[in-house]
Symmetry: C2
Subunit: 155 residues, 2 copies
DNA sequence: ATGAGTGTGTTATATTGTAACGATAATATT
DNA sequence: AATATTATCGTTACAATATAACACACTCAT
């Protein structure tokens, strides 16, 4: 268990609560299936893979197949409730689904813990440089790999 | 054809030349197969997929199978001769294989042209932020998606 | 109630990537 | 030069990730 200590029960319930809230606001339907997938993703702060979600759903009696999970993920991504980690083919919950935002991810290659950060200036610097050469930015993927404090201490 | 105008024949030959050079320096073996894969990647400045490389190799008479391509790519990545584009599962040639370096990629979602850039401050800002929270950085993936000038003009 | 849109189940398949083993070629050691 | 060692390559099989296409059920606005 990661020692990024916090009350994780509360963490999950806050995440689900704010998901309900933003979906209600937008008229988006957070169905039981979608909510369950989001809950599974929030079971940890680690990168979660689609087929792991699939296995978990399968264990719960249902007959889960890939499209079930990928469709739920598509919805959650569209609502900003989760982020996709491109360099891992994995997913992680987002605490700030209220509005789209630029962000960066710190990914621990030992324990797979993922931390969402917002480093001031990064988005702007990239945007400015792109603009200077006539490139119109629509999205950014910024993923930093390394070792988190807990794993470093353990070693 | 992208209108990022330049003499592409020369561009390829420079890339292959510097590949030969750095491999010779390091005692790394740029075999005919590896060189051919690198050459195929440099046929354009666009994101190239592993299975497209596989098809090209197949057309040349040989019996190319996935491990052939992936092993060549592993070598080229290890030597810094190509970069992997995580958000595309694709590969692009690198002009600066002499030493490892942090870089960012501008990826046109219309024409798939990829431009390697080095925005001053981005790596440092990310590193600084990571360090402040005790995170040790080993690598960064920075990929900016959008529309390149040529595609914007065309539209 | 009905028709349009949305969500889910299901089958099948596409795409991306590796493990493992043997054959061959390059390099190093004697 | 002959042999040992390692690196590279070919091949088979398969694992992991993701999507297309169609059927059916549900919602809800008319």
């Amino acid at each position: 268990m990661a020692s990024h200590a916090h009350d994780h029960e509360q963490c999950i319930s806050e995440a689900l609560g704010s998901a309900e809230r933003v979906c209600a606001q937008r008229g988006a339907r957070l169905t039981p299936l979608r909510k369950r997938v989001l809950e599974l993703i929030w079971e940890s702060h680690e990168a979660m893979k689609a087929y792991d979600l699939l296995d978990r759903l399968g264990q719960e009696g249902g007959s889960a197949k890939p499209p079930t999970v990928y469709r739920a993920l598509d919805f959650l991504l569209a609502q900003g409730l989760v982020h996709r980690i491109e360099s891992e083919n994995a997913y992680v919950g987002c605490r700030h689904p209220e509005r789209t935002h630029e962000f960066q991810l710190l990914i621990c290659d030992d324990c797979r813990h993922v931390e969402e950060i917002a480093v001031s200036g990064v988005t702007e610097a990239l945007g400015k440089h792109a603009k200077k050469q006539g490139f119109t930015v629509t999205s950014q993927t910024v993923e930093v790999h390394g070792q988190c404090p807990s794993c470093r201490d353990r070693a």
